[in-house]
Amino acid sequence: MQYETVIGLEVHTELSTKSKIFCSCTTQFGGEANTHVCPVCAGLPGALPVLNAEVVERAVRAGLATHCTITRDNKFDRKNYFYPDLPKAYQISQLYFPICTDGYVELASGKRVRLREIHMEEDAGKLTHDPYADASLADYNRCGVPLLEIVTQPDISCAEEAVETVEKLRAILQYTNVSDGKMQEGSLRADVNLSVRPKGSQTLGTRTEMKNINSLRAIARAIEAEAERQIDLIESGGAVTQETRRWDDDAGESYAMRSKEDAQDYKYYPDPDLPPIHISEADIERIAESMPELPEAKKQRYMTELGLPAYDTNLLTSDLALVRLFEATAKAVSDPPSPADYKEASNWILGEVLRLASETATLPENFAFSPHSLAKLIRLVKSNTINRNTAKKVFKEVFAADTDPEAYVKEHNLAMTTDADAIRAAVEAVLAANEKSVKEYKSGKAQALQYLIGQSMKALKGKAPAPEVKALLEALLR
């Protein structure tokens, strides 16, 4: 039988606000355990939460960027459960009136993945097990870091679509400065709800939920493995149990954590410590006006205004760090940049930059070099000071340590010679030494010219402009 997979995602993203959602402690990642805490986020008796208005602002931005309806009268609810990472024994979240509802993100295919809601909540602390002391240690630094939970409808039908949905959301969150989207620091993590059903069926199968998957690759792997597991189960006469599972990416398997019967009763109720927050029409208008260009609009503009191909724009706009690098580089080449400058910047970024990034496993937001250095390099090529091959070698240095390309070229004497006599002398010497090739060329073998160009460039140590050498050779051979 043919099966189809039905997937819904819950994407949790940490907001990039300076301070926590209900107190003024820093949200900075890391730090010595329990140093970013105060009576409020540590849940000490008597302490009270005060909402950080910036969180509401960013949630509205995320909602507007995903075509959501913004809830005017917002409330917070308490989600009650015992867990050592939750010092109040309840999480302040939104159940009854989430801040954004009924939006969507559009995939490259044109398919829309509908968003059921986006709600605000606080993050919990982090537990680590110390095997030597046989003790679990709680670090509350992350307690109270603001989170948005973005819940999709079950509109996703394969791992690729799930990954694309997360990528699109991630780009939107980055563009709107809602979140830094750093998955490796846990700023973005996803729960995957998945069920399978016979192809064409309209009823949903029993679903499982896999929690806290924190890389795109793991999301794809988890989906593929879980769909296969469910199909195998059904094929062998079994039935899927509604349960929460933990995806172990190292093992490439998921494990049952708890079944529906053991599901927690969170006893949600309105948090009496936080009065309702009203968002006015004027607030929404103000935020809408301050919205930056979103990925989709930017992509369109790159194609129509800058004349970049669709493939290039897709890659460039998928990551805000690349967008920033691209725009700043082009602008530093010349201001305003010409279409050729844009194309050149794009070629460099999609070529050498991403190649080295992948070789060294460096994320775009962690690049060591500045757009100015890359632009200098592009200018050196543009002005024929160095040729492309030399430039690629120089860029390795730029990429590794933001080396100044101009200084480097000077120091290593890589600039092309502009001395016409020296070039002529070198070319003449090559012609004299390669009579055979000269003969071949004159008898109509055009490739012989390439060999002669190569020999001349070699003699000139690559420091002459190739077109000039070619022209000179052609003139002398005529």
């Binding site: 009576p39 540590a42 849940g43 000490l44 008796p45 008597g46 302490a47 009270l48 939460p49 005060v50 909402l51 308490r78 009650n80 015992f82 050592p84 010092p87 109040k88 024994a89 309840y90 679990s136 009763d265 006893k267 949600y268 109720y269 009496p272 410590d273 936080l274 009065p275």
Partner: protein, 476 residues
């Protein structure tokens, strides 16, 4: 002159006119505490003399040069032990927090310290403010100074007993369903439950967050007004504190009684009320009429649902507020093999019966399948009660009634029948549910010589008017 019999304002006047020194005042109170606290058990902990006298010396130096930071500068104060005091044990009357030292002061504690008042000690209360008798405290039963065989009321029974027993000139209490007003009535003192939001809750260890409010307890309304003026006002650390609230007492010499319309809900004067209390209220209303006030009959038809509504709301909130006490980070921790066992034993040992009962009730009314029938319904009835008060206030300026159905019961009489104990909250809980200010004042005594209290209920944020009215009330 017996120093400990003076009201807080009389004491302040003596201090500010340099007829008494703060040291003399502290001597008198420490002596009174040494003599009577063992019997009354008004205080759980008394502040060490060394630090207290050192602070007194600083304040004395300011008074000596005429720097008087508040109307109660130099006056000692007792604080209910559910209010956080930095570095001073704050137990909530519970074994759970027996050794808890808060790292910070509640906003209202910061305010009394900024007003140059002197913290004398922390007063006993029902465990986590749950109770009407101060018998559920882990640290012993507080006695009523008017008759030590009787309870002082609760949950702010320690604060009431301290003021009534002359162990403190004035005190802070908290009121979730009557916990300032009822012990004030039982002990024959005055106490204000302010409008919800008029006083910051930051640092007040929560029982039921939407109902809790701290307030002053003193020998009379004027003392309460002076302390209320110090502690009230917005606090950016409490989102539920009223942003624009300012205490503005009526002008001196104003006659708040003349022309005031006083509403009396007929439901308040039912047969359940002790006849002597009804008689005392009747005779007071006659005097008020004679002084120019108009008596209006009003109705609060939802009164019958007030107690169940209150206990559903309060228990729902307290069960989540008390969940954090797991024995791991602070508070009583049982030694157990597993984490789960540590939680279970720490909480089983840490909480007393009444707390457990309310946590269980709260978990029940919030659990899935019951939430709509209990919590949501209570929320709706709460709104009806609020609306009924607003409607009543269309025809009157203030509502008058009893505080409790009886005068102080004997120790041990109440705990065996929690339902009867809960029902005795009938006159006070609606005020918390509606977020209104309520003032309890002593207006007489029953045939056993036990104090009878009167309750004045005001419109939202009319605390100052209520206090002025209380000061102008004729004696019975």
């Amino acid at each position: 002159m017996n120093i400990t019999e003076l009201t807080a304002l009389e004491l302040a006047q003596q201090l500010h006119t340099k007829r008494l020194s703060i040291a003399q005042v502290l001597d008198a109170y420490y002596a009174a505490i040494a003599e009577k606290n063992e019997e009354l058990q008004a205080y759980i902990s008394v502040c060490g003399k060394e630090l207290t006298y050192a602070r007194a010396a600083e304040i004395q130096a300011r008074l000596d040069v005429g720097e008087i930071r508040s109307p109660l500068a130099g006056v000692p104060i007792a604080v209910k032990d559910v209010i956080c005091t930095a570095g001073i044990p704050t137990t909530c009357g519970s074994r759970t927090l027996e050794h808890f030292l808060p790292p910070y002061n509640a906003t209202i504690v910061e305010r009394i310290l900024a007003a140059d008042m002197i913290l004398l000690g922390k007063t006993n209360c029902d465990e986590f403010a749950m109770g009407s008798t101060t018998e559920t405290s882990y640290f012993g039963i507080t006695k009523n100074p008017r008759d030590t065989s009787r309870v002082p009321g609760g949950s702010s029974g320690g604060s009431a007993a301290a003021v009534a027993g002359n162990l403190a000139p004035i005190a802070l209490g908290t009121d979730t369903g009557g916990s300032i007003r009822q012990p004030a009535a039982y002990c024959g003192i005055a106490g204000l439950k302010p409008t919800y939001g008029a006083v910051s809750r930051y640092g007040l260890i929560a029982y039921a967050s939407s109902l809790d409010q701290a307030g002053p307890m003193g020998k009379n309304a004027a003392d309460c007004a002076a302390l209320f003026g110090i502690i009230c006002g917005p606090d950016e650390r409490d989102s539920t504190s009223a942003k624009g609230y300012r205490y503005e007492p009526p002008l001196q010499g104003a006659m708040p009684l003349r022309g005031t319309r006083i509403g009396i809900p007929q439901e308040f004067l039912s047969e359940a009320l002790q006849p002597e209390i009804k008689q005392t209220i009747d005779s007071l209303t006659q005097k008020l009429q004679a002084e120019g006030a108009a008596i209006v009959s009003v109705s609060l038809p939802q009164l019958a649902y007030a107690v169940p509504t209150y206990y559903i709301m309060a228990c729902a909130e307290c069960c989540s507020n008390l969940s954090r006490y797991d024995g791991i980070k602070y508070g009583h921790s049982a030694d157990a093999e597993s984490l789960r066992e540590t939680y279970i034993r720490s909480r089983s040992e840490g909480f007393g019966l009444e707390c457990k009962r309310r946590v269980m009730l709260g978990n029940f009314v919030l659990s899935s399948g019951y939430f709509d029938a209990y919590y949501m319904k209570a929320l709706k009835v709460r709104r009806l009660i609020q609306n009924a008060y607003l409607k009543a206030f269309e025809s009157c300026d203030v509502i008058l009634g009893p505080v409790a159905p009886t005068t102080a019961p004997r120790i041990g009489e109440s705990l065996d029948d929690p339902l009867a104990m809960y029902l005795s909250d009938i006159y006070t809980v609606t005020v918390n549910l509606a977020g209104l200010p309520g003032l309890s004042l002593p207006i007489g005594k029953d045939s056993n010589g036990l104090p009878i209290g009167l309750q004045l209920i005001g419109k939202p944020y009319e605390d100052a008017f209520l206090l002025a009215l209380g000061e102008a009330l004729p004696s019975c």
